[in-house]
C-alpha cells in the first residue's frame, strides 16, 4: 500500500515537473529558451554556416584547379575567400562550441538549465541574424573582400561599398553573442554544479569550457575595440589607421591578433575537451592525468595571450621582439603535447574498443599532430620569413583547425547525437564519411605545404602555369571534392529519416558522466532529480545512481509551484546554497536580438534613424525582459528542495548569479576599455607627433570637473544601496535621482574639454583618440543612467525593497567599474599631455 502511494506521489511529481518544463508547441515553439532547444538550434545553424563556408571553399578550389582559370573573376574570388575564412572562424568554429556547450553542459552538470536561459536564447538569435546578414552579402555582390583579418588601409580607404562594414558590424554583433555565452558558461560551471561535485570532480569538459570562456572574456573585447576604431574611421573619417594623419595601420594588426591568436585556442580547446570526454569512455577507464590536463589547459590559455606577434614577424619589428615571441610560440607546444599524451596514456592503460567516434578522434590526432609540428616550424621567425602568407600557412591552419576542430566535432556529433533525439547515427555511413573526409583532406592539404614552399602566396585568385604550382593545385582541388563528398555522406546520415529506427538504449556508450543519465528520448526536465555526486564518473562509480535519480530520491524531484527551478551551489565545494528559479519561454529575447541586429545592420548603411529606432526597440525589449524575468520576489523566502534541505529562493549581492554575471561582463568591458587605452599609449610610444602639441589637449579643468561629478554619482549610488538596506527609502530615491543628474553633467563636462579646445577628430589621430575615449565613457554613462532609473522604477513598483535588493547590488557593481573607467580616462586625457 505504501509502495503504491509512493509510486502515485512520484508520478504526480513527474507530472508537475513536466508541466513546468514543457516545451512550447506550434509557432510558440520558437519562444523556447531551454538549453536543449536553444542548443539544438544553435548547433544546426552553426553547421548550416559550416556547409555554406565549405561550398565557398569548393569554389576556391575550383578556381585554383588550373592556372589562369576564369571560373571566378578577381573581385568575386576575393569576396569568396574572405567570406570562407570569416564564416568558418566566426560563424562555425567559435559558435559550434557555444552550441554544444549550451546543449550538453547543463546535462553534464546535472542541472536543469543554465542560469540565464534567456541570455542563451538572445545569443542564439543574435548569432542567427548576424550570420545570415554576413553570409547573405555575397548574393548581392556586397561581401567583404579584405581577407578575414581585414588589414587597413586597404579596407579603410581602398574598398568602397558596404562589404567591410558588413564584416565589422556583423561580426561585432556576433562577438556580443559570444561574450553572452561566455558569461553564461562561467556562471553555469561555477554555480550550477550538482551537490558534491567539488571543483576537482568536474568533468574535464567543464574545465576546458571554463578556461575557454575566460579566454573569450579577454580575447574578444580587444577586437570589439578594434572594430569600434575601424568603423569610426570608415563612417566618420577618424584617422586611427591613416598614417598621413598620425594613425598607424599596425595598431589594427595588434588589436586583431591579440584577439586572433587566443581565438585559435578558443576554438581548439573545446574540441580537445570533446576528445577528453570521449577517450575515457572508449578506453573503458577514467582519464589518466586529470590534473595534468587541467593544468595544461590553463597553461595553454595563459600562453596563448603572449603569442600574437607571431602573425606579424614580417612587419619589421625589432629582433628582440621576434625572439621573445618565437620562444613563447614554441612553448605553447608543450602543454598541447601533454594533453595529447594524456589521451595516449589513457588508451594505453585502458582497453580501447573500436567505434565511429573513436575513429574520428584517431583521424583528428593524425591530422592535428602534423598541424602542431608545422606550427612549431612557423613559430620560429626565420622560417616564417619565408613561408608567412604562403600556401604553407594555408596548409598549417587547415591541419590545425580541421584536425583540431572539425574531426573531433564530427566525432562528437556521432557520439552525442542520441542525446538530441534518442536515435543513433549509422556506424557504416559514419565510417564511409570518415574515410572520404580523411583521405580527401590529406589529398587536398598535404600538397599545399609544398605549394607554399615553392613560393605560391596565399589569397591569389590565379597563378601562372609552369612555375611549379600546377600539379600540386590540381591535386589539392581533387582532394577538396573528395573531402566534400565525405561531408555529403555525413549530412545524409544526419538528415535521413529515422522514424522506423528504434530508440537507442539508455547510455548507449556506457559513459561515466551525467549527461547520459537521461532516458531515450529524454524528457524536457533534463534530470528527474538532481543527484549528489561523489566521483568524476558517477555513472560508473555510484551504484544505483540512475535508479535513485529516476525515483526522485535526490534534490528538486518536484515542482510544487510549477516553476522552473535548478540548484545553485558554492563555487569550490558545490554545497547547495540556493534554489534558483529560471525564466521560461518568451519571444522577448528574439525581439531584443532583432532590435540589436537592427542597430548594427542599419548602421552599415548609415540609416541612422532606423538604427536609433532599433536601439530603442532593443532597449525596450531588454528592459521588459529584465523587469518581468529577473530579481522576482518569491512567494516565500525558502523552500524544501528534498533530502531534508531547505534553501532560500532569493540571494542578493555576491551570492546571486546576477552579481556574478555582471562582474564577468564588466571584466570583458574593462578589457575592451584597456584596448582603447592601449591604443592611446601605442600611438605615443611609436609616433613622435603624438600628442602633436601638448597644449592642444582637452585641458585639465574640464576633465577634472567631470571626474568629480562622476565620482560623486558613484558615491551616491553606493550610499543609495546602503540606505536602501537600512530602510531609508527617501534618501535612496533622492541619491539615485541626484546621481543621474550628476552623471549627465559629468558626461557633458568631459565632452566640453576637447570641444572648447577645438579638438577635431578628423584632423589627426590624437583628437580622434581623445574623442573616442570620451565617447566610450559617454556610452557607459548612458547605460549607468538607465540602470539608476531602472532601480528608481523598481523601487517605486515595490520590486526593489530593503529585503529584496539584487538590482541595486548589481547596479552598484557596474558603477564601481564605471568609476574606474572615468578615473583612467581622465588621468589619460588630462594628465598625460602634461607628462608627455
Amino acid at each position: 500500500m505504501s509502495d503504491d502511494t509512493e509510486t502515485r506521489r512520484a508520478a504526480a511529481q513527474a507530472e508537475r515537473l513536466l508541466t513546468a518544463w514543457k516545451t512550447p508547441t506550434g509557432w510558440r515553439y520558437w519562444s523556447a529558451v531551454n538549453n536543449s532547444e536553444v542548443g539544438l538550434w544553435y548547433t544546426t545553424v552553426a553547421f548550416a554556416f559550416f556547409f555554406f563556408a565549405g561550398i565557398l571553399g569548393l569554389l576556391i578550389r575550383a578556381q585554383l584547379a588550373v592556372p589562369g582559370n576564369d571560373f571566378l573573376d578577381a573581385d568575386t574570388y576575393n569576396q569568396v575567400f574572405t567570406l570562407h575564412g570569416t564564416v568558418m572562424m566566426f560563424l562555425f568554429a567559435v559558435p559550434i562550441f557555444e552550441a554544444f556547450s549550451i546543449m550538453i553542459l547543463p546535462e553534464m552538470l546535472g542541472a536543469r538549465d543554465l542560469p540565464f536561459p534567456r541570455l542563451s536564447a538572445y545569443g542564439f538569435w543574435s548569432f542567427l541574424i548576424g550570420g545570415v546578414f554576413v553570409c547573405g552579402s555575397i548574393l548581392f555582390d556586397a561581401a567583404p573582400k579584405g581577407g578575414w583579418f581585414m588589414y587597413p588601409p586597404l579596407t579603410t580607404e581602398y574598398q568602397d561599398g558596404v562589404g567591410v562594414d558588413i564584416w565589422l558590424l556583423g561580426l561585432s554583433f556576433i562577438e556580443v553573442a559570444s561574450i553572452a555565452a561566455a558569461v553564461e558558461l562561467i556562471v553555469g560551471i561555477l554555480k550550477c554544479r550538482p551537490p558534491g561535485m567539488r571543483i576537482n570532480l568536474m568533468p574535464l569538459y567543464a574545465w576546458y569550457l571554463l578556461v575557454v570562456a575566460a579566454m573569450i572574456l579577454f580575447a574578444f573585447p580587444p577586437l570589439i575595440t578594434g572594430d569600434l576604431l575601424f568603423e569610426m574611421q570608415r563612417a566618420f573619417d577618424w584617422p586611427f589607421f591613416d598614417p598621413d594623419r598620425g594613425g598607424d595601420p599596425l595598431l589594427w594588426q595588434h588589436l586583431f591578433w591579440i584577439f586572433g591568436h587566443p581565438e585559435v585556442y578558443i576554438i581548439f580547446l573545446p574540441a580537445i575537451a570533446l576528445v577528453a570526454t570521449m577517450v575515457p569512455v572508449f578506453a573503458r577507464r577514467p582519464i589518466v592525468g586529470y590534473s595534468w590536463i587541467v593544468l595544461a589547459a590553463v597553461g595553454t590559455g595563459f600562453i596563448s595571450f603572449g603569442l600574437w606577434v607571431h602573425h606579424m614577424y614580417t612587419t619589421g619589428l625589432p629582433g628582440l621582439t621576434l625572439g621573445f615571441f618565437s620562444a613563447a610560440s614554441v612553448a605553447v607546444a608543450i602543454p598541447t603535447g601533454i594533453q595529447i599524451f594524456c589521451f595516449v596514456a589513457t588508451a594505453l592503460a585502458g582497453r580501447v574498443i573500436a567505434s565511429t567516434p573513436m575513429l574520428y578522434v584517431s583521424g583528428a590526432l593524425a591530422i592535428f599532430v602534423i598541424g602542431g609540428l608545422t606550427g612549431v616550424m612557423v613559430a620560429l621567425a626565420p622560417f616564417d620569413f619565408q613561408v608567412h602568407d604562403t600556401y604553407f600557412i594555408v596548409a598549417h591552419v587547415h591541419y590545425v583547425l580541421v584536425g583540431g576542430v572539425v574531426f573531433p566535432v564530427t566525432g562528437a556529433f556521432y557520439y552525442f547525437y542520441p542525446l538530441a533525439g534518442g536515435k543513433t547515427l549509422s556506424d557504416r555511413l559514419g565510417r564511409i564519411a570518415f574515410w572520404l573526409m580523411f583521405s580527401g583532406f590529406n589529398i587536398a592539404f598535404l600538397p599545399m605545404h609544398l605549394t607554399g614552399l615553392r613560393g605560391m602566396p596565399r589569397r591569389v585568385f590565379t597563378y601562372e602555369g609552369g612555375v611549379g604550382f600546377d600539379v600540386l593545385n590540381l591535386v589539392s582541388s581533387i582532394g577538396a571534392f573528395i573531402l566534400a563528398a565525405g561531408f555529403a555522406v555525413f549530412l545524409w546520415d544526419v538528415l535521413r529519416p529515422k522514424g522506423r529506427q528504434p530508440y537507442s538504449p539508455r547510455n548507449p556508450w556506457n559513459a561515466g558522466t551525467l549527461e547520459w543519465l537521461g532516458e531515450m528520448p529524454d524528457k524536457p526536465w533534463g534530470v528527474r532529480s538532481i543527484p549528489v555526486i561523489e566521483s568524476r564518473n558517477p555513472l560508473w562509480d555510484q551504484p544505483n545512481l540512475v535508479r535513485d535519480v529516476d525515483a526522485g530520491r535526490f534534490y528538486l524531484p518536484d515542482a510544487e509551484e510549477l516553476k522552473r527551478e535548478t540548484l545553485v551551489t558554492s563555487i569550490l565545494d558545490a554545497e547547495p546554497i540556493q534554489c534558483l528559479r529560471v525564466p521560461g519561454p518568451t519571444f522577448l529575447t528574439m525581439g531584443a536580438a532583432a532590435g540589436t541586429g537592427g542597430v548594427f545592420i542599419f548602421s552599415t548603411y548609415h540609416w541612422w534613424w532606423l538604427a536609433g529606432l532599433s536601439g530603442v526597440l532593443a532597449l525596450g525589449m531588454v528592459l521588459t525582459w529584465l523587469w518581468t524575468g529577473t530579481a522576482l520576489i518569491p512567494e516565500k523566502p525558502a523552500k524544501d528542495v528534498g533530502l531534508g534541505t531547505t534553501l532560500p529562493l532569493y540571494k542578493s549581492g555576491p551570492q546571486s548569479v546576477g552579481w556574478w554575471a555582471m562582474f564577468i561582463t564588466m571584466m570583458g568591458d574593462m578589457t575592451a576599455f584597456a584596448g582603447l587605452v592601449f591604443g592611446y599609449y601605442f600611438y605615443w610610444t611609436i609616433h613622435e607627433d603624438f600628442p602633436p602639441d601638448p597644449a592642444a589637449g582637452p585641458g585639465v579643468a574640464w576633465p577634472l570637473t567631470a571626474l568629480g561629478l562622476f565620482l560623486a554619482a558613484w558615491l551616491l549610488t553606493v550610499l543609495a544601496r546602503r540606505w536602501n538596506a537600512g530602510g531609508r527609502r527617501q534618501s535612496f530615491f533622492a541619491a539615485l535621482g541626484l546621481a543621474c543628474l550628476l552623471t549627465v553633467a559629468g558626461t557633458a563636462a568631459l565632452a566640453t574639454g576637447p570641444a572648447v579646445t577645438g579638438l577635431d577628430p578628423t584632423a589627426h589621430v590624437y583628437p580622434a583618440t581623445v574623442w573616442v575615449l570620451v565617447l566610450w565613457v559617454g556610452i557607459h554613462a548612458a547605460v549607468g543612467v538607465v540602470m539608476l532609473l531602472y532601480c528608481i522604477a523598481r523601487g517605486f513598483a515595490g520590486k526593489l525593497t530593503p529585503q529584496w535588493d539584487i538590482d541595486i547590488h548589481v547596479v552598484t557593481l557596474f558603477w564601481h567599474f564605471l568609476a574606474v573607467t572615468v578615473l583612467v580616462t581622465v588621468a589619460t586625457l588630462a594628465g598625460f599631455p602634461l607628462v608627455a
Binding site: V330, G337, T346, L348, V376, L453
Partner: protein
Amino acid sequence: MPALPIPFLTHGRRLTAAAGVLALAACDGPQSTLTPAGVGAERIADLWWWMFGGAVVIWVVVIGLAVYATRFGTGRHDVRRARLLIIGAGAVFPTVVLTALLIWGLRLMPVLRPPTGDAAVRVEVEGLRWWWRVTYVTPDGRRIPLANEIRLPVGQMAAFTLTSPDVIHSFWIPSLGGKMDMIPGRVTELALEPTRTGVFRGACAEYCGTSHALMQFGVEVLEPAAFDDWLATQAAPAEAPASPEAARGRELFLAFGCGACHAVRGTPADGTIGPDLTHVGGRLTLGAGILPNDPAAFARWIGDTHEVKPDAEMPPFGMLPAADLRALALYLDGLT
C-alpha cells in the same frame, strides 16, 4: 575550361619557357624557397630540411604509439607506466627539442637581418597597387628610377628600403631570402645576398586588393661586371626610335598624354604616377611580372589593361586604332 583570359597563358611563352628550363634544372621552379640562390634562403632551407626530417620522425613515433596503445598494447600497461609516458613524451622531450630548435632559430637572426651599413647595392622599392617602383641609389648618391624588376650582383649584399604609399604589400624573392612587409607610414629594410646567378621571380606576399595575384616581378642575379653594365644602361636616357613606325609611336605616346603618368628620360614625358618607361623594352617582364616583354604584350597591356589586370590605375586605351596601338607597342618595345 573556357578560354583563358590571363595573358601569360596565351602569350607568356617566353618567360614560361625560361622558367620551365629553370624548373627542370632545379626541380621546383624559379620562385621556390627550396632551390635557394641567396644566403638567407640557403640557411632557411637548411633549417626546413632538418625540421622536416624531425617532424616526420616525431609524427611516426606519436602515431605509432597511439596505434599501439589502441590496438595492441591495450590493457598490458599499468597507470604508472602511462604516467611516465605523459611526463617523458609530453613534457620532457618537447622541452629539450624545442629549446634546441629555438636556439638554432634565434642564432640565424643576425644572418637574416644583418647590419646594412656596408651593403654594395642600395635599392629603394615602393609597393603600389599593383606594381613596384624601384630606385637604385648609387654610392655617389645618384638615383636611377626603374620599375618591376630587380637585378643584383652575385656575392654582394644588397640593402632594400621598403615603403608603400597606399596599402600594405610584402616584398618577397623566395629564392634569395625571406619577405618583408611594406607598410604605409613606415620604412622597413631587408638585406639579401645572392650566391649564384640566374633568373628568378619575386611576388607580393601580403594581400593588397583585387589584383594582388598579379603583382610580381622578375629578378636576375648577374656577375658584378654585367650588373655594372646593366646599371649604367639603366642610368642613361632613352634611345631614339629605331624605325619610322617606332618614331610615330613616340609621337603618339607624347600626343596621348602618356607622359602625364610615365617618364621616358630624354623626352618631354616626365610623369611620376606610373612606372618609369625609359628602358621598359629591356625588362624581364611587362605589367609587373605577368606578361612577356614583346610588342604583342605591349599592345595588349595598353588596349585591354583591365582585362589583363583588374582595377589597375592605368586607364585602358582600347579605343585606339590598331595601327596606333602597334606603333606605340613598337616604340615601347624598342626602349631597351
